[in-house]
Symmetry: C2
Subunit: 99 residues, 2 copies
């Protein structure tokens, strides 16, 4: 199925608590119920297989670029980013591609 | 469907040619035909939507951790990494998670 994929990984700052990390996952997990443009939404915590891996990832699928932009800029998403993610992020890596 | 997901992004070194980048995509694209543990394999080139995005991504799905490890260490995969990816990588970000 053709579409548009957004992938992002975060490395949390030192001193971040498990509770803060779980809050991010919980809040992001609500977004598919709030943002209709989300087609598939996968979130995951590093399994600890490889040294140097990031801590947390989101892989989100959309019908196309415009649907992704609607998600990116949606107030419910921005609120999670600003209130729960930005305060604990040390490093962020992302890409968007036609999938 | 439960499984194990591997996500990796690369930023290519300055001076890397489009041909070198396309060669990476082509060689990786052969792996699902060579490594039976790969369940799904998605590769993508940055769509240019957001500043600071990485250049190239792979999202690969496996039945579980052991299947991922078989892929990670498979000679056909290692050959692509060593011959085509490592020589042009500036930055790499990765994570593996239970999906």
């Amino acid at each position: 199925m053709s579409g548009f994929r957004h992938v992002v990984m975060f490395r949390w700052a030192e001193g971040t608590t498990t509770g803060q990390q779980e809050e991010v996952a919980a809040r992001l997990g609500e977004l598919p119920g709030l943002i209709e443009e989300i087609r598939e939404y996968s979130i995951g915590v590093n399994a600890g297989v490889n040294p140097g891996a990031y801590d947390f990832a989101v892989v989100a699928d959309f019908a196309g670029r415009d649907a992704y932009l609607a998600y990116r800029d949606h107030p419910a998403h921005r609120a999670v980013v600003e209130q729960y993610i930005t305060p604990i992020v040390a490093e962020r890596a992302s890409i968007q591609y036609e999938a």
